[in-house]
């Protein structure tokens, strides 16, 4: 299990290839990668991500440990960036390894759902017309109910 909260970019290809590599007991690997999207209408100049150093790592570790236990994962990876990002840049990724595919998929979706609403990150969108904090979505909170 590895958690990384970092300002610098990560190498998706390298992280994916290196994740759980060489293990012969995990039949299923899932990755999710979040990318900064351009906004239709009012083009995004940058996305600024603020976080709570100390708590962020602890919260992500707790979420990942829950996912590992609940879905019998053999391994889990969470990388989340902070700072200023431009459209097309990768914000974060998670990866899960499990003997069977349903657990790998469920584990990755669980990580994403909890990370969205329970890890202390806040996004601000910078466009030509101003800067706005991204509002949380009721559907993101509701997504936790399925687990």
């Amino acid at each position: 299990m590895r958690i990384s909260v970092q300002e610098s970019p990560f190498d998706l290809g390298k992280e994916t290839a290196g994740f759980s590599a060489g293990r012969k007991d995990m039949g299923a690997l899932v990755t999710f990668t979040g990318v900064v999207r351009d906004l239709p209408g009012d083009p995004l100049q940058a996305l600024e991500i603020e976080h709570y150093p100390g708590m962020t790592e602890a919260a992500l570790t707790e979420i990942a440990e829950q996912a590992m236990a609940r879905f019998s994962l053999g391994d889990a990876l969470v990388i989340h960036r902070y700072g200023r990002l431009v459209p097309g840049e990768m914000i974060m990724m998670v990866a899960t390894a499990a003997p069977h595919r349903n657990d790998a998929f469920d584990g990755a979706e669980f990580l994403m759902d909890y990370l969205k609403s329970r890890a202390p990150f806040w996004k601000r969108e910078i466009t030509a017309t101003g800067a706005d904090w991204v509002a949380s979505k009721a559907e993101d909170e509701a997504a936790l109910d399925r687990w």
């Binding site: 709570y52 602890a58 919260a59 202390p120 990150f121 996004k123 904090w133 949380s136």
Partner: protein
């Protein structure tokens, strides 16, 4: 006690962290004390349903006790991922 503010709470209050002397027993008591200080605090804490709180880096609620707490953080709902 260290008080931390993030995102628009930080912007409204105008600083990322401060150290306060307080005897507040709960988070709600601390919020009441802060609101009395200045308008910018009163404004920032005017709608608690739009706020989240962590005590010693653990998410909790406004009824939580502050006994033994060293660090309290206020911020809007998270938007990670």
């Amino acid at each position: 006690m260290d008080i931390l503010y993030f995102a628009w709470v930080r912007e409204r209050i105008g600083l990322p962290r401060e150290t306060v002397e307080t005897q507040a027993g709960t988070v709600a008591d601390l919020v009441a004390e802060l609101r009395k200080r200045e308008d910018r605090y009163d404004l920032a804490f005017s709608d608690l349903s739009a706020l989240r709180v962590a005590v010693d880096q653990k998410l909790t609620d406004f009824d939580a006790s502050l006994a033994g707490a060293r660090e309290v953080a206020f911020f809007p709902p998270m938007t990670g991922g």
